[in-house]
């Protein structure tokens, strides 16, 4: 095998100083493994929370927004450039909810991206039992479709959610409501809507999500019951909930659907602004921690190569005297940095993976989260070793450049 002489010298130097090489490589190893570990933890948690948010939020929600009177009719009538002023604009009196919801549903279903769509009637209600009153929201849903989209079944504590279709006045209540009103499966609960309709309903199931506030306010009823509570007809629907193939496309599809139907659309990104903000904040924290680790590793390499160069300055002078160009000398020292980077990086990959694996076995058991969510995502490993080698290159460049500038005459003459 023909080994380049620069490489040979670089390797000999590394081998002659095993301890320092090991320390430098360990710095890189820490950087790389921490990079992998932190990235895996962050992606794992982000994926988990994203998935969690889809248990309550659809990818896209379509609803009718209250409109405020604007100038557009005036502008249509007076086409001149006169200034129109409308003092104290009022909300328009219009029909609540979505007009012809089943027509709209059929229209939306034509979009190839859409996988699921279900109508919902939201009603603000009071839950009453004995003398205690709680306020909350009753969602009138098609429970089969709702279960398909949001996996309601996985949150059920007791009862059968399909009883909502079978029992005429059935209701699924959150565990918080059940606890506060001391209600059990099969008990009756009085529900009073914001428009004053009172209904006595029978508890056919109790559910518990990870969010306390939801459990204390939310209930599911049959969509017809909700329409009755709001004293509306069978075509009254307040929201359409849409799931699509790839939730990352939600903002674009939401725009399309909004333009298609003329209703207000809200994608999950808008609905979960604070989740997204949390992702971003975590990314900043994580990247600064990794940055610091790599920086420290980089300084370690810089330091060790610098010391090597001071120690070997006579040898560098000799190499130059015997015909090594500045470039060759740079290559000798830069290669040392690269090998340190590669050795440390490869070990770091292994350590990072092992660390990630063991942490993913840590039992958490909070809410419905059992183990710490960790992702094993290949690009993280590629990025990690890439950054590791880049750092060593940057750290090695300056000492190597300095070595190439050594003036053999002044060193040899002493």
């Amino acid at each position: 095998m023909k080994v380049n002489v620069n490489t040979e010298i670089a390797l000999t130097y590394l081998a002659a100083r095993k301890k320092q090489t090991a320390v430098a490589a360990m710095g890189v190893m820490f950087g790389v493994s921490m990079f992998i570990f932190m990235q895996s933890l962050m992606k794992g948690t982000n994926d988990y929370f994203e998935k969690q948010s889809f248990n309550t939020t659809p990818h896209i929600r379509l609803y009718s927004e209250n409109k405020v009177a604007d100038l557009h009719m005036l502008n249509t009538f007076f086409k001149d450039s006169s200034v129109k002023i409308m003092p104290n604009p009022k909300q328009l009196e219009q029909r609540q909810g979505i007009i012809d919801p089943y027509g709209v549903i059929n229209l939306i279903k034509k979009n190839p991206q859409v996988t699921n769509i279900t109508p919902q009637v939201s009603a603000n209600v009071f839950y009453t039992s004995g003398s205690v009153q709680l306020n909350g929201t009753a969602d009138g849903v098609n429970i089969t479709q709702e279960d398909q989209m949001f996996d309601v079944q996985s949150n059920m504590v007791c009862g059968d959610l399909h009883d909502l279709d079978r029992v005429n006045n059935g209701i699924l209540i959150g565990k918080g409501i059940a606890d506060k009103l001391s209600l059990h499966l099969g008990d009756n609960i009085t529900v009073v809507s914001s428009v004053g309709v009172t209904q006595i309903m029978r508890i056919v199931g109790i559910f518990a999500t990870t969010i306390k506030q939801t459990d204390e306010t939310k209930s599911y009823v049959n969509i017809i019951q909700a329409q009755n509570l709001m004293a509306k007809d069978r075509s009254y629907v307040t929201d359409l909930k849409v799931n699509i193939k790839d939730y990352n496309n939600a903002p674009q599809v939401a725009l399309d659907l909004g333009a298609l139907t003329g209703y207000k659309t809200e994608d999950w990104v808008q609905a979960n602004q604070n989740l997204k903000a949390a992702f971003k904040i975590r990314a900043v924290i994580l990247n600064s921690v990794i940055g610091v680790i790599l920086l420290v590793a980089g300084f370690g390499i810089y330091n060790i190569l610098n010391m090597t160069i001071y120690e070997k300055i006579k040898e560098i002078a000799i190499l130059k005297a015997t015909g090594f160009s500045g470039k060759s000398v740079t290559s000798v020292f830069l290669q040392q940095a690269i090998y340190i980077g590669i050795i440390g990086g490869l070990i770091g990959l292994g350590v990072g993976y092992t660390l990630t694996y063991f942490v993913s076995r840590i039992y958490i058991g909070a809410g419905n989260l059992r183990y710490l969510p960790m992702s094993f995502y290949v690009p993280h490993y590629v990025e990690a070793i890439g950054f590791g080698i880049l750092t060593t290159l940057a750290a090695g460049y300056f000492p190597a450049h300095k070595a190439s500038k050594v003036d053999p005459v002044s060193i040899i003459r002493g």
């Binding site: 040898e315 015997t322 160009s325």
Partner: protein, 230 residues
């Protein structure tokens, strides 16, 4: 002209630190091929300075330098490094071997850098050179495990590995006892007479100088005698 290994024209050099000082004053020098030349002079007369300029390592001078008929003045450091690698060998007062490598590797490195021969061929040639200086038994020892005399012989072997046309020595025997000095001298003579190499050496050793082909004497930055003996 073909017979000239090295030629200078009006070579002048100043030191600026700590005070301006002219160390070389218009040196005119010619060294023929196959010549064994000694440069002598008192400490501080500028002979070492001259040698380092001749070696192309020091480029901070005025005047012109020709090696093998080619002008080297004004060339880039990388070109000069290549030139040194190919046609100039060095022997220093202190051996300056690379202590992390074996003797054999030390000798091989300049040839590997040159890259004209295969690894195997370089290895064979390096071994041959070590044999020439009687240190072949030390070939696989670390360079820092050898005695001073042995190290100097390895260093000379290294200087010869690329079969340079010119060998430059700065006090090559300064650190050697008389026995080793004798060995080195005989080898040098053999190199010029049998292998046709040119040797320029700076030395304090009158005895050593006297036995060379020609003695150039320097004083106060100028050549006072070109010493055409033969």
């Amino acid at each position: 002209m073909e017979n000239i290994a090295l030629k200078t024209s009006n070579l002048t050099k100043f030191f600026h630190d700590p005070v301006d000082l002219q160390v070389l004053k218009g040196i005119e020098l010619e060294v023929k091929k196959r010549e064994f030349v000694s440069i002598i002079g008192k400490s501080g007369c500028g002979k070492s300075t001259l040698l380092y300029i001749l070696s192309t390592m020091d480029t901070d001078y005025e005047g012109e330098l020709f090696i093998n008929g080619v002008k080297t003045t004004g060339r880039s450091q990388n070109e000069l490094a290549k030139l040194r690698n190919e046609s100039i060998g060095f022997v220093f007062q202190f051996h300056y071997l690379l202590p992390d490598f074996t003797c054999l590797k030390n000798v091989m490195i300049p040839a590997l850098r040159l890259g004209k021969l295969s690894y195997k061929e370089v290895e064979e040639r390096a071994y041959e050179k070590l044999k020439m200086f009687g240190v072949e038994e030390q070939a696989n020892k670390q360079a820092n495990k050898l005695s001073g005399g042995q190290q100097q012989r390895v260093a000379i072997a290294r200087a010869l590995i690329n079969e340079p046309t010119i060998i430059m020595c700065d006090e090559p025997t300064g650190n050697l006892d008389s026995k080793n000095t004798g060995i080195v001298f005989d080898l040098f003579q053999k190199l010029t007479h049998e292998f046709g190499q040119t040797i320029i050496t700076v030395t304090h050793d009158e005895d050593f100088a006297r036995r060379s082909d020609r003695i150039i004497e320097m004083a106060d930055g100028a050549i006072v005698s070109h010493g055409h003996k033969s």
